[in-house]
């Protein structure tokens, strides 16, 4: 059973606020990912990390930033939230070997910017 946790599950907040979405995993996975998913739509990769101190931009441009100071923790930050950031954000992780390990997902954070 995968153990990956996202907090908060739901967040409604005003424009201009700084937001941090938390993601933690207890499996010791090296690779972690952030996806953005609009309702009823596919997932778009916005950030990923190979390991500690590694962060890369994903396929979809995002104004958010990420950090990876500890293996288990991969927070996503929006410095100044805007209504266009309203979406669901999903965090995932995968094991050491490349190209063959499935990703394990958290339950997501549904973000609404007023």
């Amino acid at each position: 059973e995968a153990d990956i946790y996202q907090t908060p599950r739901y967040l409604v907040i005003g424009t201009g606020k700084k937001i941090t979405l938390e993601c933690s995993q207890t499996m010791g996975h090296d690779k972690m990912y952030w996806y953005q998913q609009d309702p009823g739509m596919e997932l778009h990769l916005i950030h990923y990390s190979y390991g500690v101190n590694s962060t890369e931009k994903g396929d979809l441009s995002s104004e958010s930033t990420v950090s990876r100071i500890r293996t288990e923790h991969f927070p996503l930050t929006l410095e100044s939230a805007r209504p266009s950031h309203t979406s669901q954000y999903l965090c995932a992780s995968s094991g050491r070997t490349g190209g063959s390990q499935p990703q394990h997902f958290g339950d997501g954070t549904r973000l609404s910017i007023l």
């Binding site: 690779k31 990912y33 009823g40 990769l45 190979y50 490349g98 063959s100 499935p102 990703q103 339950d107």
Partner: protein, 114 residues
């Protein structure tokens, strides 16, 4: 570039009926293929995966999928659908660049009538 196509946006079946969800991929070599399921408000759960070997793979919840290289397909099947199977189903192909990145299809929403 790799891509995944799920031709059916929305499928409706009666409880107890059989199910087949279609997935076609574009990739030159043998890909890593996955099926995920997403219930409303939740993250993605891995149903099954194909890496190599037997082209018929068994997954959780009674699902199976068959890899057909000649058709570039990886269709998901279930002989008898339960009402609890209503969800969004995503097919994905693994990027062959040692990142474990996934390319997702646009998903198929399954509705089950009693």
């Amino acid at each position: 570039a790799q891509s995944v196509t799920q031709p059916d946006i929305h499928i409706t079946v009666s409880e107890g009926a059989s199910l087949e969800l279609r997935c076609n991929y574009s990739y030159g070599a043998t890909p890593y293929l996955f099926w995920y399921v997403q219930s409303p408000g939740q993250g993605l759960q891995l149903l099954l995966k194909y890496f190599s070997g037997d082209t018929l793979v068994q997954g959780i919840k009674g699902f199976e999928a068959e890899f057909k290289r000649s058709q570039s397909s990886f269709n998901l099947r279930k002989p008898s659908v339960h009402w609890s199977d209503a969800a969004e189903y995503f097919c994905a192909v693994g990027a062959m660049d040692n990142t474990d990145k996934l390319i997702f299809g646009t998903g198929t929403r399954l509705q089950v009538f009693p």
